[in-house]
Symmetry: C2
Subunit: 417 residues, 2 copies
Amino acid sequence: MPDSRSIPNHDLGMALIGRGSVGVDEAALRRIEDSADRVLAEIGIRFEDDPETLDLWRLHGGVVKGDRVLLDGPRLRQIIQENAPESFTLRARNPDRDTKIGAGQPPVFAPIYGAPNVLFENGERGSGSLAIYRQLVSMAHAAPALSNTGHMICVLNDVPEPARPMEMALSHLSLSDKPFMGSIASPQAAVEVIDAVSMAVGRKATTGACELLHLINATPPLVYKENPLKCLRAIAQRRQACMVTSYMMMGATSPVTVAGTLIQGYAEVLAGLALAQLWSPGVPVVMGLFAIPFGMSSMLPCYGDPASHLVQIYAVQLARRLGVPVRGEGGVTSAKVDDGQAGSESARATAASVLSGADFILHSAGWLEQGRCVSIGKFEREARAIAEAFGIERDQCPPPSPLDRRLESELRRRMWM
Amino acid sequence: MPDSRSIPNHDLGMALIGRGSVGVDEAALRRIEDSADRVLAEIGIRFEDDPETLDLWRLHGGVVKGDRVLLDGPRLRQIIQENAPESFTLRARNPDRDTKIGAGQPPVFAPIYGAPNVLFENGERGSGSLAIYRQLVSMAHAAPALSNTGHMICVLNDVPEPARPMEMALSHLSLSDKPFMGSIASPQAAVEVIDAVSMAVGRKATTGACELLHLINATPPLVYKENPLKCLRAIAQRRQACMVTSYMMMGATSPVTVAGTLIQGYAEVLAGLALAQLWSPGVPVVMGLFAIPFGMSSMLPCYGDPASHLVQIYAVQLARRLGVPVRGEGGVTSAKVDDGQAGSESARATAASVLSGADFILHSAGWLEQGRCVSIGKFEREARAIAEAFGIERDQCPPPSPLDRRLESELRRRMWM
């Protein structure tokens, strides 16, 4: 990776520390951008199994070689800077719970995303289920710190896969009136959930506002797979928001250095963010770089590592220069129980996100065991801590007004179509 | 307290968050300085039972009323800015372990200071003793993260009080060759330890370097007691360093708001730092504001609270404007065991110190239970985490060369004089 070894981790850290300011290292940011531009121009990005994306790049100056596309970094930045909004509003069933993301607003916190397992307060572990999901959504709704109830807080292992996206959406819609996140199970699922939620929110489309934020992941190194590409297109064309993230294992799917990881990840998300704007100019996007050192002895990612925090701090600045809101990580950890390690790793990760100025902080509550487990106790502890940190009133959010019965029946009917 | 309620905590926090930069809120800093100047001019500071300090203030324009002195804030700032060094070197018995403090150097980490009790790894608790102290100093020496072995890591409950200062100094000198901190048990003890350590370090006095850093605490609100005043004078006249700190319980010994606490604490340390420069122009000093919300139901301070972190972040900027190095807090927590709460509170406090740019971070390892207990397990966990965060080599520091036998006998003889 060009230039990456010439910016050691230690220098990046020291540039931030001891000056009393986080993330204003202009020269390092330029070098990361310039190096990413070289990666895009000389190596390019692979866009797999999606000819429409390749056609679009051909129209916009990409050099297409098979499914690999050589891209012009400065041009991608220009597309994003000229089109993507600096902030947008996620609308809720209850208009009082609409939340603005970006442009100096306080960060939005959402719970853990994607846990197959659950750790209960009595110390027992179990598999994620619909019943537990509904409990977790209710907890996220009740927590004043969480202004977004997220998506896939645990996996619905007892629900057939095709029914999961709408079942999750129905849980969020019926047990909460806060905004939440959309499905990326397939482009069809994404669109079905978008249509259902738009109906439930029941307000007409306006510029600068949408109902759902979706997690679109690159597949590092330097690849986008078919499903995220098709979801990105479908979602953008529905004028809903995408959080385009590169989720890297440092030393496995990205270089082992912080600088190298920043360069690769920034190249990847630059392509994804520009794609969203090309499909649907002005559509809301969020940028994310989530990088975890991969343990070469454990063969597991080491969450909560300081290297991740440096990536986080620089990611915020890179996003600011693009003029788009940016993702942060909440309480990520490799710990298996909510012990000193869990508390320490999680709090450091959250502090790096909050202090660097991240706008949407995912995995803010409940994460344990490399994200393989949602802990009920840690969920409540972290939600309380965020509320205290932000001086949010401690009372629980009152239960939502019930979802319209006919609408709920209609959505349930669609689920089984 | 003037102006404090017009700067709510939330505004201070939001000024830092969402902009991607910590601590560059110029307007708020000026208001804190101006308000502190009003406190100094209209209320003043009490300097108890030390006529020499009052005489000194009379010479330098203080308006002395009993033991209360009305002071000119801008003049105090000028005295500090014109005389105090931006950085200084703490010298060790091993010159390779000399550490520079301030001026953009990486922070220096020192262990917990002042714990009467000990929590062992088997879960048992005990009273601090000389044997445990020697074990803790050896641990601090072995930890590459800790470049200063501190002072009073636990209390030597089994040693007569008059012998404790030299017994601690001898432990640090014989079991380590890193710099450490001096005694403030009394002005005599401070001077005896300074003379002993200067002898052991064995290098002649030079500008910009000294052997020992001493903790000089104000007694908020707006008081300095006799012993710290006399220690400050004795230490400054020996050209050794003082860390002048206001250690406030928010809502008990300082206003409950972050801004009010900053105003009061800044007024206090301004007076103490200027005193050091008046006694001994150019002597090294470190500024510290350590503020903990006082729990009105528990009647205990709530360590690791976000309000403390805001005070920390602003303290660094206020010190930068004075041109002196600044203290940070490490892993402070109210937790009684090293659990999720301990990890979370400690890591947040340390992150606030590191990311805001603190120069000397006290209580970096081992703190539990409002500082009433040093935990052997937490000490090792935190020392490891700091080493990982700063990319410090993981090998333990090799044992030091033995302290000269004759010197050790001479110091032991003095201890019983």
